[in-house]
């Protein structure tokens, strides 16, 4: 029973830790499937986390916080889109710039507005997305095994968790089953063909980066006004890059992206759980190895030692209309 309890706890915390990864990973998926490489996921989430906390505090509404987070994230996406699509600039450079601007601006504005060293004041309960208990969770929870799973793993998540998980099948459906999705994927593989068919490459790519912005906004808002209660300096702490790793790991597909994010979330949960724990035979748990694992696995995968990760063909390449 104790083992089951511990397992459920780790799994529940896996879900919580995976949510921002899922959001950012799907965001990157939309952008890169349309041919725009985005290493600015981290910065967009950070900007959104800050905006969401500020808006939630000043308006008192979690929903407005979420909208503000999404708004700021879309704005940053459009900057990236403008540089990448209209100006045909280097997309990596643009991503680096957005990450830096987000770190700098959130710290400068946060300090100027609240004078707490860049943090925002705590967000009150009423201004956050609170856990939603599924019906009869307490009664069902008494049933062994299944009840525990229902109560601890499925129940008690906030709205944004459900939205993030819902975004996975939605992304799959739109990309694979709709005309818009087909065109969007085509624009990431062979933009010239899309252009020949009389469809605007630029417009499709802008749509993709806006969707990317919405998803990053969701992830950021989750950090500051759902899972957490307030904005902390650099609170994304590399999650945008882990999401990027997960995206490569998933070979740019929604279902595997969910699996990769859950795996990386699980590693994170294990690392937290094992902090300072002595393991039999090994001694102090090598937490750093677990933390480095997502990056190491991604490098190994990219190098083609286990399978092959091939990005969309036109990703990172600015489209120039032939004359």
């Amino acid at each position: 029973m104790e083992f089951l309890d511990a397992t459920l706890q780790i799994l529940a915390s896996t879900v919580r830790l995976a949510v921002p990864l899922i959001c950012a990973c799907l965001a990157g998926l939309w952008s890169e499937r349309a041919g725009i490489v985005d290493i600015g996921l981290e910065g967009k989430m950070l900007g959104a986390a800050f905006a969401a906390a500020v808006a939630a505090i000043s308006t008192g509404s979690a929903m407005l916080g979420l909208l503000a987070g999404i708004g700021v994230s879309i704005l940053l996406s459009l900057v990236h889109g403008y540089a990448a699509i209209a100006q045909r600039g280097n997309q990596i450079v643009s991503g680096v710039a957005i990450n830096m601007l987000a770190v700098g601006l959130t710290a400068v504005l946060g300090h100027a507005w609240y004078r707490e060293g860049g943090r925002t004041p705590p967000v009150a309960q009423s201004q956050r997305f609170l856990p939603i208990d599924l019906p009869f969770a307490d009664q069902v929870g008494a049933i062994p095994v299944l009840g525990g799973i229902y109560k601890q793993l499925l129940s008690g998540h906030n709205l944004l968790v459900w939205l993030a998980f819902l975004a996975v099948p939605l992304t799959w459906w739109v990309l694979q089953k709709t005309r818009f999705g087909l065109r969007l994927r085509a624009v990431g593989e062979n933009p010239a063909a899309v252009d020949t068919a009389g469809i605007s490459v630029a417009r499709l790519r802008y749509e993709a980066v806006i969707i990317c912005g919405v998803l990053c906004g969701l992830g950021g808002a989750y950090l500051s006004i759902a899972q957490g209660a307030g904005f902390l300096n650099n609170m994304t702490a590399g999650k945008g890059f882990i999401a990027l790793a997960a995206l490569i790991f998933a070979k740019w597909r929604p279902g595997p992206a969910l699996a990769a994010c859950l795996l990386f979330g699980f590693l994170d949960a294990m690392a937290i759980r094992l902090q300072g724990v002595a393991l039999p035979g090994i001694g102090q748990a090598p937490v750093q190895f677990i933390q480095a694992l997502p990056y190491v696995l991604t490098v190994v995968l990219l190098a083609g030692f286990i399978g092959r990760a091939v990005p969309p063909k036109a990703s990172g390449v600015p489209y120039v209309k032939e004359r």
């Binding site: 540089a83 045909r88 450079v93 710290a107 990056y295 490098v299």
Partner: protein, 364 residues
């Protein structure tokens, strides 16, 4: 890139970078204005803090030294058409190389030990960058992604080593014991004092000369050697390089190693010059500043030195500014840096196309 923008040479090397920097400052000024401070006043405080005193100059040039190393690292990779975002990780490994060499050869006299420390930094940084270079050249994974991943791997590796393996005996702090006194890169005040010039005690040390030497060496390498020519050919067109009998794979690996070696030298300034022991996150973002520096310096060593000096002024001046104006934190520098990268890098054509149009009108 795909549509070359024709500009007179002076406009391309001087006017365009200047315009982007001025724009970056102007937009950052708006941010200062938005938080209720006077940007003009902030700017003058910043420059006074950086250049208004000998001590200010000392700090400014100390930052400059760091940024020259990381800027050169990014710049030489640019020359080969590679984007090395891994400066942070390579510098971190450089620090490891220094302490490994300095601890192992502690019995050597200073005039041998100091160069060995420098060598350790360069070798370790080069090795850490060579792996992504190899993986791109031979296994087809992209250096941008691998170097990002290697930054994180280096950071966790360092935590592991400093906490579990190399920590100072009898201390919980994640840092090593100090390197021997004769392994230290002499502070500038000591060096100048020996020449009879008085200079206040600042973090500035003789690594500054190493940075200038490195800039000259990169210039000679890229524009006056066969290898440099090959690097530039691969950067301009990998397919043309193949026809010319140059192996892009080999150049990719070699250039990444050189780039990593330069980034590793950052640790000479930080560890041998200032901290004297290995500790966590000593690179403090200098690897990323290098990207801004290389973009602004148009990947040319002279441009890199000038841009590194500008960022040195910003870092030192920004620190002073945040004392005088508590509302403006040091993070303002990161904002300016972000705008410089955005305007000089990602939006360069947005500046160049109107300029080119302007020049065409004048000629017509």
């Amino acid at each position: 890139m795909s549509t070359p923008v024709e500009l007179p040479r002076w406009a391309d090397v001087a006017l365009a970078p200047l315009l982007t920097v001025v724009t970056a400052f102007a937009v950052s000024g708006l941010v200062v204005l938005a938080i209720g401070e006077n940007p003009i006043e902030a700017m003058s405080l910043l420059f006074k803090g950086a250049l208004g005193s000998k001590a200010g100059w000392g700090y400014t040039l100390y930052y400059t030294t760091s940024f020259i190393f990381t800027g050169l690292a990014v710049a030489i990779a640019f020359q080969a058409g590679l984007f090395n975002i891994g400066g942070e990780g390579q510098a971190t490994l450089g620090g490891l190389g220094i302490v490994l060499f300095c601890f192992s050869f502690e019995w050597l006299p200073g005039f041998l030990l100091v160069p060995l420390g420098v060598l350790g930094a360069a070798l370790a940084g080069a090795a850490w960058a060579f792996i992504p270079g190899y993986l791109q050249a031979r296994r087809g994974s992209h250096v941008v992604i691998t170097t990002i991943m290697f930054n994180f791997i280096a950071a966790t590796l360092m935590v592991y080593l400093l906490v579990n393996v190399m920590g100072r005996p009898g201390s919980m702090a994640p840092e090593t014991r100090n390197i021997a006194d004769h392994a230290v890169a002499a502070p500038m005040n000591v060096f100048l004092g020996a020449l009879g010039i008085s200079f206040p005690r600042t973090p500035l040390n003789i690594s500054f000369f190493l940075a200038i030497l490195a800039a000259i060496a990169v210039w000679v390498l890229v524009w006056h050697t066969r290898l440099g020519y090959e690097i530039r050919v691969v950067g301009a067109s990998p397919t043309a390089a193949v026809y010319a009998g140059i192996s892009p794979a080999r150049i990719t690996m070699v250039t990444m190693a050189i780039s990593g070696g330069l980034a590793g030298l950052l640790a000479v300034n930080e560890i041998m010059g200032l901290q004297h022991r290995l500790l966590l996150e000593f690179s403090a973002g200098a690897g990323f500043v290098g990207i801004a520096v290389a973009l602004m310096g148009r990947a040319h060593p002279l441009g890199v030195v000038l841009a590194a000096f500008l960022f040195g002024v910003l870092y030192q001046g920004g620190a002073e500014l945040s004392f005088d104006k508590p509302a403006i934190t040091k993070d303002m520098i990161v904002v300016i840096q972000g705008f410089v990268i955005l305007f000089a890098g990602a939006l360069e054509f947005a500046f160049k196309r109107p300029l080119a149009r302007l020049f065409r009108i004048r000629e017509a």
